[in-house]
Amino acid sequence: MLEFRAITRAYELGGERAGVFGVSLTVPKGRLAVLAGPSGSGKTTLLQLAGLLDTPDEGEVRLAGELVSSLPEKARCDLRLRRLGFVFQAFNLVPVLSALENVMLPLQLQGRTEAEARERAEAALARVGLADRRHHHPGQLSGGQQQRTAIARALAPEPLLVLADEPTASLDHAHGGPLLDLMAELAQERGATFLVASHDPSVIARAHTVFRLLDGKLVEVG
């Protein structure tokens, strides 16, 4: 599904060289894979490269066999819109839109009709248990509810790959666990691949595949 081939992406951080260096790995389809490692190990950098938010200095990123790392910006935007979903640590819902409208947003950007987008968004919200909260704005939702809305937003367009950066970091254990169970269920149920960056042991415990990083290098696959 997702393949990194000898990826290097370096940058300066606090006067020191950071990033990822010569990483090669493959994330199989329909799996919940975790990029694990301490802060500064390169988890987020790899996730950004997978999400086509950044370009590698060297190496290739392939998605479903297609070389995507060297695509022009317009094609990358299109790929992000149609084949990728994002879940962020800080939820990052659009504050002026309701939960339903947030989930509808990527669908409408894809060009779907309002009725179709609404139908899909309502189904996605129902799947994450927020049907009764669909008209609430992000400020009226708890952290766990906001993150579930974000998952619904990422999944509603039926992407090939969902990228999640520390999705439980802003949640307490009581909310983080069920959220991960939900993500694992959805990966199985929809055949979508989840790539999660996290150093949370409870996340790592639920993963089908774990890629351990240290100082920008892949040190273990389990």
Binding site: C77, F86, A90, Q108
Partner: protein
Amino acid sequence: MILARLALRNLLRQQRRTALTLMVVVAGFLALSLAGGFMAQTFQGLSDAAIRGGLGHLQVMPPGALEGDEAQSLEKALPEGEALAQRLRQDPAVAEVLPRTQFMGLLSNGPRSVAFLGTAVDPVLEPKYMACAEALQNGALTKGGTGSRWLSGDPAAREVILGTGLARALDASVGSSLTLMSTTREGALNAVDVEVAGLQDLGLRELNDRFLTVSLGTADQLLDSAQARSRLSVMLKRPQDTAMEQARLQGLLPGTSVKPWFELASFYRQVKLLYFAIFGFMGLVLFLVVLLATANTLLMSVMERVREFGVLRAMGLQPRQLLVLLQWEGAFLGFLGSALGLLATLLLRTGLNALHVQMPAPPGSSHGYELFIHFVPGIYLLVALGLQLTIQVSALFPGLKAARLRIVEALRHV
């Protein structure tokens, strides 16, 4: 449409800031549209004064009549002016033709003589189409003007209406007998005794000091002008067709020069240019204020939403779609601002007109006028379009800033 909805919600997010920006747009609209209404009043007043002051909608004159000093003599005149006037009256577009003879000479009360500029008009037709009454009413209020009336329609009557300054110079009043002296077409000196029928205040001191009006019959006797007329003032049935009719009549009347009133009313043109310069500069300043205010609002809004833009870009929004989003925000600000500005303009216009504010006399004029702000939809549309364009331009810079954000940096933005 999702971008439009998002833009509207974003404006509602910071209501106070949006309201302040809207107030700037409304103030800009209000100032420009009221100024436009005032300009329209001035232009209409000046055009009425020019047309009804004797020019008519069109003037038929001999070619070259406006060159040199010959305009005030019959050496350059329409030799068959009366016949030409009769012919023009048959034209379906023409409401009436008012022949005029312009001449100059001396006006004497016996011991004293003063140079004058005279116009001879048809005493019956002239009051129907030209503004004679107001000048006479104002003249009647001056010393010696009591009992002022218009020229008699009797062809045998030899009467004159004097400018108030001219009457003062000759110590003349209504009923006084004076002598008009001038040269005939052949160059002989001639004189006609006339009685003062009235005094007229033409609003300009220079005119009041020199100007007099007589009937065409009186001028014909004085100048031996027969059928000759200096000019024909043509009143059209459809004044809005002046330019078109000028071209048509010019084709029909070879050997003459047909001029529209706005080419002859130099004061009107000068005032128009002056107003355009003044209000153009004012408009430029106001547009600049609106540009800076909306650019500031939208830029602040962009700076507050850096992370949100990063998320939207991560979701697949193209950079140009962020530009479009900001353009929508500008569009709503402009539309709402202009709509509120129009409402405020209509309310304030009604209020100001109801107050009957008296404006001071303009330079060169001897009396003031009442302020009336005209309803000018064309100007409102122009101002709204100008403001909209300004705001769309002001949204470009914030939009470009948003579009150029690097996604990974935007997502890290706190």
